[in-house]
Symmetry: C2
Subunit: 190 residues, 2 copies
């Protein structure tokens, strides 16, 4: 089965991680302007935030549904982040790769680590802020969240920042267009 699986993969999985505030969501949005790029919609047990749409931003599901999907082997990875479960669905990935598309995953370092350790073939990109101080300013500067939320986010960002050595490529996002060109070139989109 392993062989059939590899033969069927004409496309490429691209994993994008990086601390909150590094700009990876913006980069993913820009990459999606290319019709050859398909974006993974994660399933999560967390409640939708204002403006988030089910099936567009996430598949919002119950813990019981999440448990059933694990039982069916429907996830290629899943992880717990801040008290919620997040998972990447296998089916959309396999379909996109069979069509020869780029399957883009924006997942946290824990999920990316899992995929890498499982030997899931793909391009693992870490989007990094110019330095940790810049990131700290960006995260604190949002000013919309409670201090303990900012504190928790900073701690997680710091932990994530340390994980960048595990990735195939670290892209420094100082200038958005330059970072985008670099990533498109790594993927082979131009």
């Amino acid at each position: 089965m392993a062989t059939g699986e590899i033969l069927a993969r004409k496309g490429q999985m691209v994993v994008m991680s990086g601390p909150s505030g590094a700009g990876k969501s913006t980069l993913c949005r820009r990459l999606l302007e290319d019709p050859r790029v398909h974006f993974s919609i994660s399933a999560t047990t967390r409640k939708p935030r204002t403006g988030e749409v089910d099936g567009r931003d996430y598949h919002f599901i119950t813990p019981e549904q999440f448990r059933q999907l694990i039982r069916e082997g429907a996830f290629i990875e899943h992880a717990e982040v801040h008290g919620n479960l997040y998972g990447t669905l296998r089916k959309p990935m396999e379909d996109a790769l069979a069509r020869g598309e780029v399957f883009l995953l924006e997942i946290d370092v824990q999920g990316a680590n899992q995929l890498k350790l499982l030997g899931e073939p793909g391009l693992y990109i870490f989007v990094s802020p110019p330095d940790f101080e810049t990131l700290r300013r960006r995260l604190v500067g949002r000013g919309t969240d409670a201090p303990e939320v900012v504190e928790r986010r900073l701690k997680k960002a710091e932990d994530e920042y340390r994980e960048r050595v595990k990735y195939d490529h670290v892209v420094i996002n100082e200038d958005l267009d330059r970072a985008l060109r670099q990533i498109r070139s790594l993927i082979g989109l131009e």
Copy 2:
């Protein structure tokens, strides 16, 4: 299926977590002296350490085998710890619970969090050292590991210690026999 699953459960799942050095392995070993208690053997991609036996301490498997087991929905939870994957197999648990036994899991807080978030019914026990300073002394005092290994273990222990509030019960392991009596009473073994 959810109903059938619950009806079939005559036994009880007991999750034991706690920082390295809190004494949970010793407590688990003592609990296992009771024939009604069945211990979960995790699957892992990590290499066996000296003295560890496959099928007794862990099921040592390859990342490819681990990936296949995820695909089959064979795990009730799995997580990455220090660059290795660990998972709890569903089948032995369901068999033990159907037989009315206690199914004892010694897993890290990440795995326990996952199970709790998924709504997996069970008794969640956190084994705690008397205080964090005692733990620090125990971990440093082993003196058998490289400084960076001790450092990493301390950091993880500190992170885990903070998670104790999420458990149903925190058992302070100052006196082993007292801690054991407490746990046996929580499980309903006496």
